[in-house]
């Protein structure tokens, strides 16, 4: 499998395990395989490329998309149907409401010539969503082979360990396969793999080396790193394009790119500014400081009375009730009772703004209780605008 080795890097052992599990086309495989590992550790990619290159009949379904049982089952069946029927002719949509129907229909479909005598694979990506669906679904999928009496293997892909899946009624245990995180060497190798054709592989590898040096401490997500690599590469090449440095002049290139990458870490990585904005910045060569990130706009304008309601809510949320007397008797009348004509409306609008949240049960009809969810900094800023010294009234600051 030389082709496979070229496309799937640093996952040799997992690939060989899977291959041996799959066996020959007509062999019965393990009824269910559970693959887990961190984000971007190649679970989906490895499974997909493996199944594709081996040309095994398979169905790939993402469970996020199928938020109801019906959608999930129908999608699997339709895709299977598509596989089994010859090219071109599009058979009618299958409707399937229950798992029972599913088993029946599944049997029907796999009778087809093209699917006979070989293992059919059903891959359920983001399998953690299965836990929120009907309780019988997961055990059902786990022993699908037994239920349908067909040569079928269900592969679950998840970021969560199997122990958290296990239903308390007990179930058939799948084969569990762990994908460990990529090491820095692995990352280097994978990232260097997709170098642009204009530049030599060494040049790109050097760039990746610098990139990892900056970002590895904060981010090990391969997807994210790849994204960052693509984004910042033009900047790295700039001296070369301009003719100021040769491709081998690593030191100079490093000096050019390093501060830039650090800036990127503070902005793009945190999605403070979008990648398109970042690219524009690179083109114009302006200072990113001018472009304010999302978090820079924390200021919220509120009507005058709403501010007071919010302050009062904050005090009520964070001071113990027994201290009320102490605060408000001493500074008697400091908080004037303003005529809140539209008090109720305002509270609801504050709730919709997520500054207050409803606590307590939904069914509590009279006197709903709210809690103030804003931060201290926020409330201080609000209090300052209405000349109210909130620190004086807070129990924690006494």
């Amino acid at each position: 499998m030389p082709h496979l080795e070229n496309t799937v890097l640093c996952r040799e052992s997992q690939v060989s395990t899977l291959q041996s599990l799959f066996g020959e086309r007509h062999h019965f495989s393990f009824p269910s395989i559970f693959i887990y590992g961190h984000t971007a550790s190649g679970k989906t990619y490895v499974t997909q490329t493996l199944l594709k290159t081996l040309e095994l009949p398979h169905v790939f379904v993402n469970c996020v998309e199928c938020f109801t049982l019906r959608l999930l089952l129908e999608q699997i069946l339709n895709k299977l149907n598509h596989l089994s029927s010859s090219e071109g002719e599009y058979s009618t949509q299958i409707t399937c409401e229950t798992f029972n129907d599913f088993v029946r229909l599944f049997k029907q479909i796999t009778k087809a010539e093209s699917l006979k005598d070989q293992t059919v694979y059903i891959v359920l990506d983001k399998a953690e969503y299965l836990r929120d669906m009907e309780a019988y679904l997961l055990p059902g999928f786990l022993r699908l082979q037994e239920l349908t009496d067909r040569n079928v293997t269900v592969i679950f892909l998840s970021e969560i360990v199997w122990e958290k899946f296990r239903p308390n009624t007990g179930c058939f245990e799948p084969f569990v396969l762990y994908f460990p995180d990529y090491s820095i060497g692995n990352l280097q190798k994978i990232l260097s793999h997709d170098h642009p054709p204009e530049y030599s592989a060494d040049f790109y590898a050097a760039y990746i080396n610098i990139l990892l040096g900056v970002f590895y401490t904060v981010c090990r997500d391969l997807k994210e790193l790849r994204h960052l690599a693509v984004l910042n590469f033009p900047k790295y090449c700039e001296p070369v394009v301009k003719g100021e440095a040769s491709e081998r002049d690593t030191r100079k290139l490093w000096r050019n790119i390093e501060p830039h990458l650090k800036k990127a870490m503070q902005t793009v990585y945190l999605r403070e500014i979008s990648s398109s904005q970042w690219e524009k910045l690179q083109k114009d060569d302006t200072d990113p400081g001018q472009l304010k990130g999302l978090s820079a706009y924390t200021h919220v304008e509120l009507p005058y009375y709403s501010k007071f309601i919010l302050i009062a809510a904050y005090l009520a949320s964070y001071n113990p009730a027994r201290t009320d007397k102490r605060f408000f008797l001493k500074h008697h009348g400091k908080i004037k009772k303003t005529n809140f004509l539209k008090k109720h409306e305002k509270i609801t609008s504050l709730v919709t703004l997520q500054l207050l949240t409803l606590v307590g049960h939904d069914d509590q009809l009279d006197g709903p209780k709210y809690k103030c969810t804003v931060s201290l900094d926020f409330i201080r800023a609000i209090a300052r605008t209405v000349n109210f010294d909130i620190i004086k009234y807070l129990y924690d600051f006494l």
């Binding site: 996020v64 938020f67 304010k292 706009y297 919220v300 009507p303 919709t352 009279d366």
Partner: protein, 693 residues
Amino acid sequence: MKSETERLQEELNKNLFDSLIEFLQKSHSGFQKNSRDWGCQIKLREIPTAALVLGVNVTDHDLTFRSLTEVLQNNVTPYVVSLQAKDCPDMKHFLQKLASQLMDCNVDVQSKEKESVQVTQKKIHYSMDSLSTWYMSVTQKTDVKMPRKKRTPPSQWQSPPVVLILKDMESFTTKVLQDFIIISSQHLHEFPLILIFGIATSPVVVHRMLPHAVSSLLCIELFQSLSCKEHLTTVLDKLLLTTQFPFKLSEKVLQVLTNIFLYHDFSIQNFIKGLQLSLLEHFYSQPLSVLCCNLPEAKRRINFLSDNQCENIRRLPSFRRYVEKQASEKQVALLTNERFLKEETQSLLENLHVYHTNYFLVLRCLHQFTSSLPKYPLGRQIRELYCTCLEKNIRDSEEYASALQLLRMLAKDELMAMLQKCFKVFKSSSEKQLGNTAKRIEEFLAQFQSLDAEAKEEEEDTSESQSKGLQKTDLYHLQKSLLEMKELRRASKRQTKFEVLREQLVSFIDSLAREYLLLPETQPLHEVLYFSAAHTLRQHLNAAPRIALHTALNNPYYYLKNEALRSEEGCIPNVAPDICIAYKLHLECSRLINLVDWSEAFATVVTAAEKMDANSVTSEERNEIIQYPLKSVLQCPSIYFSSLFSLHFPVRTFRAFQRGDINQSRKHLDSSSFIIVLIIRNQKIKSCKRYIQ
């Protein structure tokens, strides 16, 4: 006339919104291009997203979004969908709404040819898959049709993007949002989606709601709309601080409106409504408001004034004051001769117009001078200055004095900048009346500039002398020369040209204010243009709904003006609306009420009204009547309404009522002989409301 002014006003509002939309559109068109680029780089898989920070005035957002949708539909893509959080409690509803709206968009474009297909499609469970296949089919179809149809130019793209507006991003459930973003990012290459988040608070909320894994799927760009305070300033500037519209507000009215705005809701929409209300009220209550229109029209109308209206003019307090100041012959003429009166009115109106022109120019000018002073003695916004000017003679106020004091201490470059701005203000107005002033300001500017040059020369002089002085090595001489220099400087300080000039400038400003910023009340005929009934306005805008309802129920005559309803105290007219009768009966019992008694009493009153024999009424009918009060209370639509009755029922009874099972509930009442507690007008409001809904 009324409608004319209103229309003008509406147009202006539209202008305002248009400018806002233009800004949005601009940002979006750029954005669109970006999204096209992104489309090519599929591997990055980011959904282009616009975070639209709109401020907390949620009531205004609807309009903004509506116009935004319109603009987008006209210029960018036919597929614009806007969703509200309350429509999408979960993924299923979310997609269903999205799909149905999308298909509707499409139907509009394709002249509703497939309505029958629509109906069947609505039953299907939507998934992103079906959506994208639908999208593919539609775009392919339109591609074929394109050459025949001649659509708007920007939508000639092969695949117009689908714009999804989430109106209130804060209230969406995080899970739904996250899932949706994950799903749609997977389908992005076949379903080009653009998200627009409407954010009321601050953009940080995006981070708070979405974990990094999800937000990394978005390519967010931020757009900040005008803050509502700025918006208010523009509205005021365009509507009130201009001679274009003759209608003006008095200080108190303006205060009421701005207070409602600043203290309560921050809603421009409401502000404009208040403005419109005051406009209406003015035209309704002031008979001479016919003259409240532009000057030539007003002059024309004066010629057609009836005797009665002339009499009205004579009765105006400001006009009377004016007459008293005139010579006696003229007084007589004014009071007796209609034609003379009309001519005089014309000239007075003209004066008033000129007064306003000057007034606003000088006001703006003064604002330029005072708006950047430390501590803002006259306010930061021009509306504050305007309010003070309307309230009392500005020159009498302490703030004005302190502002002038501060002006006397300003440095030259600051003054220069202010003067420049002022000059621009005068230049921008086409009016000739204050050309003189503009010239004066120009002169001041020139003088300051020449001062600059002179100062430089002087500086050179001093530095020369300094260098001379320093050449001497003798310590004694050095000291002496230094002392000399110091004295020289002090002397010059006492009377630099700059200070003299500054003094002149300040007194010039003062004279301007004295001359032009007079109180509107001092102007004759000001009543024609100024609306001053702040009290009515407050009553209308800051209404207390509960009191209004109480009045309506207790004394229906107050609102209905039906003679039959006029009643003496303590008696219940049987012709009154049923709900009034029920209410009045329930008022008669102070704290506790027996529901059965109440119903019976109601039935008695009503049957008496219809002058029916008790016998002739069948028992069924009577039953119906008896049950009416409870039914009516339980079905009343408004929370305030039900709160007036504030009933506390056993839940079983309520449920029975809700089911419409009157007999059942009556059985509950009878068999267990509940005494229904009625806590009048205070508690259990919400519980009532909840049950009723």
